[in-house]
Symmetry: C2
Subunit: 359 residues, 2 copies
DNA sequence: CTGAAAGCGCTAACAT
DNA sequence: ATGTTAGCGCTTTCAG
């Protein structure tokens, strides 16, 4: 096997300089047509493929944006996406554990999609990186060295690491966290979402007792919980402690059922939490929304195919991804552009789990 | 804004050589602990992030695998994923056209997922690249220069281009095409799948007239159509010309309905075709499976949530992605490993669109 | 319109 | 255990 051809080989074979070869590919109009054709011909014949590492090094940028995702499966391998009964056992699986968890796209998938499309539209490539559990600094730093800008989901990367990276390339955090100005941030109006949900449950359905169901170790969940508490207080209702998505959630709900202490409504931190809760309630024989109303947050697909369908707040997920890419591209081209925080509006999606009837 | 720090800066500030800095990051055990700590400290203070382009150039490899995907939306912007009636209008959309098409994951998404997970597990990063419509050679060649191996979906990239690239890095094509040994190939047993479907429709339900519904410009569709024709012939049944997924499919089906010439069963090239066909039949008032049976191919999620659920053949999609990554990693490490074609087994998924009753 | 040549930042022999 | 140094392949300024 011969050495892979370089600009030198092409230049030599074509009887031109390496500069001309380079221009032929990067700036064709600078090269006389006949020369250009010659070079392309030779390149073709030799099997020349430009080496991006060399180019990026010379240019000082990569044309790649990174998305540091995660897979919640890895963190919670024994937790399934509850799909409100529609998850079909006959949707044959390959036997790999993750295969059965990720039938439905989740929040992250939809954000990723928006990010991808915007990158491609703008001529950027995209590295999707993911790690299991706690992220070692080296992994993320490794990734940072490969890209012109980086989008990360919160709570995945230690803050000092993020600050370190943000000194070198633009970084945008997706979703809430609140402090610092290390990086840009794209967030949604969580408080408004929660307020609209409660307003609907309270004003429209007359519900008076609420419990929040929190997700584990999740910044968004915390934000929404705070908003929930504030809203409950504002309405002069009784603030009860939050329930928590965990292996013990089923027990807790069973206990509430036993003592007749079920609230009127369960406001869940996310659609995924809502779906899991729904599943548990089903198993306990508690009817939704008959015995208890339930709401989610996000607007993922699974919540629209469950039984009943989940009343929720829709995030503009792909728009979040799109904006993230947009912002990174701008800042990577001009370091003077300051970090910014964008807060996107949400929208209440009234379906059936709150007690409304299907249209 | 100061210049971004390099190994030289770190080495200088720490009073060591660049080699020591490099070793500290790449081969820590080669460096005395105290030195290592010193270097890491200085690097931290300076905000040093290793430049991957330089490293890759020096090393001669990138640690990145590419997946050249596509988005069928771009090619057919006016064609929706029909979801058998479950696609909820209230699943609020952002207004961007693609947003409403891609609610359900498709074949490609699931393959991609397997690819990603395997890459991450093996310590590779992954570049997902996509283009609209016909792919210019430069785009794919561009990508090829960035990665150690490339997986492509068929019919997206001109064959000469693929051959050109395959001279430099390992390439694997996902799904059927058949000719050449330019690249490796991962395929499924399409013939077996089609045979099992027809066997079921014929043997179990006694159907005798079949029409194939082909997808446009799709290698898999062609392969399955051939297998379909062969099987029909083998059983001594009447071979009728294929229908074709297109804006005119509705007319054609209506015509068949009008003349009482509907077949017993429609064997569709994919689940997506089946879902679209199902949608059309619905609108024509033709009952499925009452008036006509229908089958799909792939095993995507949308086919499991439609009404009725689609009887289909399940491809091990994430396994396809996983194997692709596996194969590329092996070949990128050892150019002596020859190309190979892997054919994976499929599995019949009997649901309701064939006429069976729900379990 | 084309060529010469100086980097880009890092790695990995090889030397000490 | 650490330092020296020659590349890795391409881009781009400056000359011609």
């Amino acid at each position: 096997m011969t050495r892979t051809p370089t600009v030198y080989d092409v230049a030599h074979a074509a009887g031109v300089s390496t500069a001309t070869v380079s221009y032929t590919f990067r700036n064709p109009s600078r090269v006389k047509e006949s020369t250009r054709e010659l070079v392309l011909d030779v390149a073709q014949r030799l099997g020349y493929v430009p080496n991006a590492s060399a180019r990026n090094l010379a240019r000082g940028r990569t044309g790649v944006l990174g998305l540091f995702a995660y897979d919640f499966l890895w963190d919670a391998p024994d937790r399934r996406i509850p799909a409100g009964g529609v998850l079909p056992e006959s949707h044959e699986l390959t036997g790999e554990p993750y295969d059965e968890f990720r039938l439905f796209p989740v929040y992250l998938d939809e954000v990723q999609r928006g990010f991808e499309l915007e990158c491609w539209r703008r001529g950027f490539e995209i590295i999707i990186s993911g790690r299991q559990g706690a992220v070692e600094d080296s992994a993320i730093s490794e990734l940072a060295g490969r890209v012109d800008g980086l989008a990360v989901f919160p709570r995945r990367v230690a803050r000092p690491t993020l600050q370190h990276i943000a000194r070198r390339i633009p970084v945008v955090e997706l979703a809430s966290r609140g402090d610092t100005d290390t990086c840009s941030r794209i967030d949604i109006d969580n408080a408004d979402g929660v307020a609209q949900l409660i307003e609907h449950l309270h004003g429209k359905h007359g519900h008076r007792t609420f419990r929040f169901v929190a997700a584990d170790d999740n910044a968004d969940s915390d934000t929404r919980h705070l908003a929930f508490a504030a809203e409950i207080t504002r309405l002069g209702l009784v603030a009860l402690p939050a329930l928590r998505q965990s292996p013990k959630l089923a027990e807790e709900l069973a206990a509430l059922q036993g003592t007749g202490a079920l609230p009127d409504a369960l406001v869940c931190a996310s659609d995924q939490v809502a779906l899991e809760t729904l599943d548990i309630l089903h198993r306990l024989g508690i009817r939704v929304p008959g015995d208890v109303a339930i709401t989610g947050f996000d607007g993922i697909l699974a919540g629209a195919t469950s039984q009943p369908r989940i009343t929720t707040v829709r995030q503009p997920m792909s728009e979040i991804g799109r904006l993230a890419a947009d912002l990174l591209i701008a800042r990577s081209a001009d370091a003077e552009i300051p970090n910014e925080t964008i807060v996107l509006a949400i929208r209440l999606l009234v379906r059936e789990s709150c007690g409304c009837t299907p249209a």
